[in-house]
Symmetry: C3
Subunit: 404 residues, 3 copies
């Protein structure tokens, strides 16, 4: 046999070997019961918590989502009586009360407003802070609506300001100017995707998508119509535990939560949205309570000569801002997380031996018996010399006197 | 030697000990082959799947992103012929067709519209639903565009409503009013950051950033110009597999996906965006198909006496809403996940011993031989007494008769 | 004893057994030191890195957030001197400079602008590109602002275009038209939730929420007022290391980062926001530097006969776009991740035995002594026959001659 072949054979021989730990198998009622109990707890934890409860056998992915919304409804403003001539009647439709007309992931519905029509740039008395002489109105100082020109207006006893005149009368109406906005409906279209799994779903279920009759007539109800994509604003606020009329006065920010929790190991049709609603802004805010903002419509009118004068209608809009939150996780069986979790679980099982060994070797009467059986004592020649009364019983295999 | 010093020495002696499991080393062709095969499968899984495929040696971070967009292009509306006088010609520029002028993470381009100019509040007949007498028009009931005043208009045979008059004629044009919007270009600026690694990238590559000539002339093409940040709207829609003219009539919602998948163990220059496009809204929707919304421009005109009358131009805009989705993960070598994955992998390796032991001890002819070699049988005095015919061969070390 | 009872007893007997690996306990100074050192490194890693630094004992959750903002401040435009008559003075308030009036997760403040009032549809010479004859102006070709009608305007030597006339003079002012926008303040309201833990926080601390005096007077300062929710725009830009006046000319995109890193094992009051700011757009951009966009206000004026003419005021707005980024993670003690990390850690501890065994069995003089003690050599009858000079010393327990 040549040297190379022999070397190869030796390597091959090494390959067909099997190492298995030598096990001390102890028949003992007490120890056995302890061992099985610890094992049971760990296995119950691995199966019950890691695998079943936390779905450790699944790979997870978060939802990616698009929400579009469309509000419908017409109301009349409060400040006029419905009369046959139509004077003083003002109807508000979607283009009037949804500002801006589209937003990414949110929509706003005006419920109350202060309108200041036909403002133009000029000098006029400010609202609020009183003055008695020009000294109270330092020139170029800034007020809420404009910049003081240094004079005190003797009629109103307030400073004159450069501003859009006349300035807004910031008297908030105590009832919402738009009555009946709670009957507005909003159609929500939510398309989602779980990119890792390539699964797409939408909130309008396939069974409804072809059924225009159902979709055009239904209204969301958590019990009777949980999958209808049309929501009454009043319902949303009520389900969030709030009072619509109260919110409508000062405005509010509402969260429109769409939850997609899907187990993709089941039928994909079971992957359905769950809606919930909550108020986002704080009821007890002391600064800037509620939700409002100002915007204006601008136009020009012919001026005295070649120039034109810019005019605007200022609107302070109070209303409810609905913000969409789409959460969701999908889980699907995958070998990698399962193996990782099992591996970590197996390692934990090792704990049961550690625990029992501790008790066996340190806390039982027969600890010397067990120690002797579990351990092969080997002493190297550089071992520290110890007068070890406890272990003097154990017979060490000593290197110097080894039978090797 | 004092007691304290002795105690210390003993503790020190305990410290310089080494515990290693006693191993039964079996030379066997069959068992060896099985053992190595199971080991191989597990190692291949750890290296191949966990480490290489799932990059288990890396720490991951998700992208945080900002996208801004700027649309360019001018078109004329369809409803007029190009003639030298310019009458009836209407040119649409960016300020006209991008509504609202800026959005966070999205932009909208009008492709079709219904314009109802010079509306004012009043009473006028509604569109659609016919009536024969006032009884068909209950007062204060809500119609699509306004609120009924209780009378039936004898000319149009529809109910009279309080509304912005004249009401919109909801006849959708069957061809897009804005012709040529597919030639519009949009410049996309996408800045990203992987916060955990502090790595920042942008979609305009550094090599292009200083090359204004390339940037001002290029158009994105998945093959020839995959990193050009200027996109033709028509290309986007085409690459999503849709027909632009079809979308332009009713509007649509398009996803503009920017994918950053970066291996930061490689050169950071290789961390580049990948663009893809998909239609978000459903082609087969029965309710509110496509994408449209209404907005209005408001101004006041002098009224009969001291008051002014508010007028508005209502626009129902159909168009394509592009929503940005920036996904991405960066991976970088990190010891912690590597160690965690290796640890779980090592624990899995323990499986190979478990599997082989099972077979060796229960399924082979020589199971008694192996059993005897693997196990040291110890019997405590509280062990259940069993007439164990199978194992009667094994010599138990009995506590009562132990040589301890 | 019946067969069934006996079977049961035997199964029960199997249950009360305990398997513990037989351990070779080696007393050796050198090996002990190596073993303890490797163990120490691994334990230090598990405790120090996995548990303490990476908080491996906690479950984590990402923040979900809502941000609303409200800008306050009034300025006058630069193009006029403050004079007592108010002519040419233009005051800008929130409704003027915040466009659009509300955005989801962002806000924009105009700092500079080019206003082109009273545009109407018509034919007028374009800006820029010169022409000498009609041949230079191909009909229907598109220019920056309109569409050429095929004629060259002999006065301006530029092509005539169908456009909103007069076209915008794109001469960017070199100083911001709105002076003093850096004194504007913005009130930020940020409500967050860690959904997994059900913990809600907001950036307005509870201790401040009832203290209107503090809130109405404070301004954010990273040192003295780190929790004041009112920010001066100038401070934001300064803290991001930028020059406000520079940004105000061309516009910019700023990131307004709110960081919530909460250890929910501590008092929930310690879960507080940390603000930071950074510039998002690139200072050295060659295309579309800064941030600007065009929008327009539309109105109609009476035309020659029954029709009306649409007019608009075009505004090219330069300004600073603030985008909110709310990041954050909350950690809370949870048994599952702790057990998973401990399990993986325990498995890693196995490495210390592997490392020491390697050295002991292959790299020490006494390797045969250790080998003999660690291994029980068993040879099956299908083992490859090897003339193993090294291991010939070891006494194999041979199946054929086994004492079983």
């Amino acid at each position: 046999m040549s040297g190379i072949a022999m070397g190869c054979t030796r390597i091959c021989a090494r390959f067909f070997e099997y190492d298995t730990p030598k096990i001390v198998h102890i028949r003992s009622f007490k120890v056995g019961i302890l061992y099985r109990f610890v094992q049971l707890v760990i296995i119950a934890y691995i199966i019950g918590v890691v695998m079943v409860y936390k779905k450790g056998y699944q790979e997870f992915d978060n939802v990616e989502s698009t929400v579009t919304s469309k509000v419908k409804g017409v109301v009349m403003t409060n400040n006029s009586m419905l009369n046959s001539t139509g004077n003083d009647v003002r109807v508000w439709d979607t283009a009037d009360y949804v500002v801006p007309p589209q937003e990414n992931g949110a929509f706003f519905v005006t419920t109350n407003y202060i309108m200041t029509p036909d403002q133009e740039q000029g000098i006029c008395p400010e609202q609020g802070a009183t003055c008695t002489s020009d000294a109270d109105c330092p020139a170029k100082s800034q007020s809420a609506n404009g910049i003081r020109n240094g004079t005190c207006n003797t009629t109103t006893n307030t400073c004159n300001i450069y501003a859009w005149c006349p300035v807004e009368t910031d008297m908030e109406p105590s009832v919402p100017m738009l009555q009946g906005t709670e009957t507005f409906t909003v159609l929500i279209k939510n398309q989602i995707i779980f990119p890792k799994f390539g699964v797409r779903r939408r909130n309008i279920l396939d069974s409804f998508a072809t059924n225009n009759t159902y979709l055009s007539g239904c209204h969301y109800d958590p019990v009777t119509d949980p999958y209808c994509p049309i929501f009454r604003l009043g319902d949303i606020v009520r389900l969030a535990g709030e009072n619509y009329t109260e919110l409508a006065v000062k405005g509010a920010v509402m969260g429109f939560v769409i939850q997609w929790d899907c187990n993709l190991d089941l039928a994909v049709e079971k992957c359905r949205p769950k809606y919930s609603f909550r108020r986002i802004d704080n009821r007890d805010d002391v600064t800037a309570k509620g939700w409002n903002f100002r915007y204006a419509n601008y136009w020009n009118v012919p001026g005295n000569s070649t120039t034109t004068i810019q005019k605007r209608t200022l609107i302070k809009a109070f209303g409810i801002r609905f913000i969409f939150y789409v959460y969701g996780t999908a889980g699907k069986f995958n070998f990698v997380p399962m193996a990782t979790n099992l591996g970590a679980g197996l390692a934990l099982l090792g704990l049961s031996v550690i625990v029992c060994d501790m008790i066996l070797l340190y806390c039982t009467k027969k600890r010397e018996f067990y120690h002797e059986n579990k351990f092969v004592m080997v002493k190297d020649d550089d071992a520290l010399l110890v007068e070890d009364s406890v272990k003097s019983n154990y017979s060490y295999r000593d290197f110097n006197h080894s039978d090797a």
